[in-house]
Each structure stands twice: as C-alpha cells, then as structure tokens.
Amino acid sequence: MIKIKIKCFSQVRYALGKDEIALELDEGTTSDDLEKMIREKALGKLENVTLGIAINKKYVLDDTKLNDGDEIAFIPPVQGG
C-alpha cells in the first residue's frame, strides 16, 4: 500500500468540501485511477470540469504512477490575472 495526500482547490474543494484528503492506495495506482475516484466522490459536481494533475507541485502527464508520500493536486482551470 502507499499513502498519498490530495490538495483540493477551487471547484475541487467546492465539490468535495475538503482542503485536503489523505488516502491509502494499492501499489501501482496511477493518477488516472485517482482522478476517477475523485470524480466519483464528487457525485457529478466535477462532470464538466477539466482537471490537470500536479504531483509534488509539478505538472505531470496523464496516467502517471503514484508513489508513497506523493502530494497530488487536481488542478481545475486556473484563473490568475
């Protein structure tokens, strides 16, 4: 098993009602697997929201394997400026 932390921002926080989520996952879980889980937890509230993925504060490509201790953020469309 691996332990990871999810940071929630903007629409993701609004949908899940949490700033941070700690999870234990099976070895070999990928960011795509986790995104599916998060979307299910959001009960449709993230249906039309595109999510980028950052692992340990760096953007990564889809389907990246997660490692023990990773900090993951699903990044809804950003709005700086």
Partner: protein
C-alpha cells in the same frame, strides 16, 4: 532581470526609471477586478494559490518568456487573498530595447500565466456568499 512576487497587500507598482539608456520600451500592464461577474454584482474577489507551486510556475514562465523574446527585464506582482473591486490583481512591467519584442513578450507572459499558474478566484457576492469564480480565460 526577472522578479516575480505573490503579495497579500495592495500592489505597489515597480519603480519606473529614466536611467535605462539602452531600453527604449517600458510596458506596464495592470489587471483589475471588475464589479460584475456574469451579470452579478460582486463586492470583491478572493485569490487562492497552490502555495509552493504558483510562484515557481510564474518564475518558469518568466524564464521562458525571456528565452523566447529579447527582453531585458520582466517584473511581475500578483495579488493573493481579498482584492477589492477596482484594485489591481496583477501588475507586469517589461523593459526591452524595442516595442515589438516587449509587446510580444507581454502577450506571451500573460497568456501562459492564465493557462498555467495555479491561482484561482472566488467571487464574494453582495449577499456575502463565496463561490468559485466562473471567469474562464481564453
């Protein structure tokens, strides 16, 4: 020179100067908070960042901009926290030898910032309700 900063108090613009003898162009952009969002009146916006990633990404974009365009200086301050209607949320100043590269660099920098820097806005409505801003940048 590159300076990027996330600040929690009203933006103090970067100092202008008459001493840059080889820099013929000084461009300044201020992004300000509008009083309506999708027709609804707001009292202010609250900007949140992904701490530790937002400033790093801003720095990456400034480095890329300077590699892509022959500009001398990029200075950027972005507000975090509550920003009242009318206040500047973003201040960018770019110095270059000529206007064209400065304008191109400014456009590139702001477009990339709006695509990549993990900063989000919450709209505070007149009723006091706080909701994720629906403002989407193209």
């Amino acid at each position: 020179m590159i300076v990027v900063e996330l600040v929690e108090s009203p933006i103090i613009p970067f100092q202008s100067s008459n001493d840059h003898k080889e820099k013929g162009s000084e461009l300044i952009f201020n992004g300000r908070v509008r009083e309506t969002e999708h027709g609804e009146k707001i009292t202010c916006l609250e900007y949140e960042q992904y701490e530790g990633m937002a400033e790093k990404e801003l720095q990456n974009i400034a480095n890329e901009t300077q590699n892509k365009f022959p500009v001398d200086d990029i200075f950027c301050r972005h507000r975090i926290g509550v920003v009242e209607v009318g206040e500047a949320s973003l201040h960018v100043s770019i110095w270059s030898k000529h206007r064209k590269e400065g304008l191109d660099a400014m456009s590139y920098f702001i477009i990339e910032l709006k695509k990549r820097v993990p900063i989000w806005k919450w709209a505070i409505l007149d009723s006091g309700k706080k909701i994720p801003s629906e403002c989407k940048h193209e």
